[in-house]
Symmetry: C2
Subunit: 163 residues, 2 copies
Amino acid sequence: MSAPVTLVVTPLTRDAFAPFGDVIEAAGAATAYAINAGTTTRFHDLATIDAARDGGRPVVSIFRAQPRELPLHVRMLERHPLGSQAFVPLGPQPYLIVVAEDPSLPPRAFLARDGQGINYRAGTWHHPLLALHAVSDFLVIDRAGPGNNCDEVELDTDYLVTL
Amino acid sequence: MSAPVTLVVTPLTRDAFAPFGDVIEAAGAATAYAINAGTTTRFHDLATIDAARDGGRPVVSIFRAQPRELPLHVRMLERHPLGSQAFVPLGPQPYLIVVAEDPSLPPRAFLARDGQGINYRAGTWHHPLLALHAVSDFLVIDRAGPGNNCDEVELDTDYLVTL
């Protein structure tokens, strides 16, 4: 394996993340309206949940992630071919996202801030959860059901992520 | 309408909330295991998402709720007959939950703390979202689809909730 290649970390935005899935945040939501006699605003339908194919069902879990040390080496990616997977932080800590359209090409690295959540489209190559700074809880919505729903790949290049 | 009847507010626990749905929290989860090479704990399958009946699909939204003033009058309840509805707070603020097995009987009032979320089973009578202390965001997982999925009822009694 050759010398590490440093990935540029960019802010998470809906446009930049569109090839990989959804950004779950109120800001910039396409549909928002008042409910409950005006006491609440509903930012509606922020992620495409794809969990029912091949006998699957949507499952709600909490992931409690240890913070990673930076710089971080990215040497593998995984994907869930049968369903989407959403992560919404339950606290204020930022976290890192590393995704690739194809594992033979350099990944993209994003910094999620201010409570931004994400939803990986089924089959999106991504690094497992990368919490920063503190133990961080995330609400996760993914698929349970029959069949193999996790592929892993070792990368040919050693990528390095720092802030 | 006669004089207000004060509801006793009790702490939210899985056991107490069982007639109405699920409590979404890591503490006390029935199934928890290490993933991602031991960097993350998965507290698995914390809520029964029921959103697919009658052509429905699960929808992820953010509700931004104005805080309520206490004491609070509870004079109506609603229910979603076609699907479950989950609320997970995205910040540290506590909030109130008012539910009833039957709207002709006195409701139960619970205080959710420390990030506790809930999932109303389809058809559970409940008061609309009751944030406290500050504008509060909640991740909501409910059903979109055809059919009437919201019933409202006016209560015969004026209930009062305070802390």
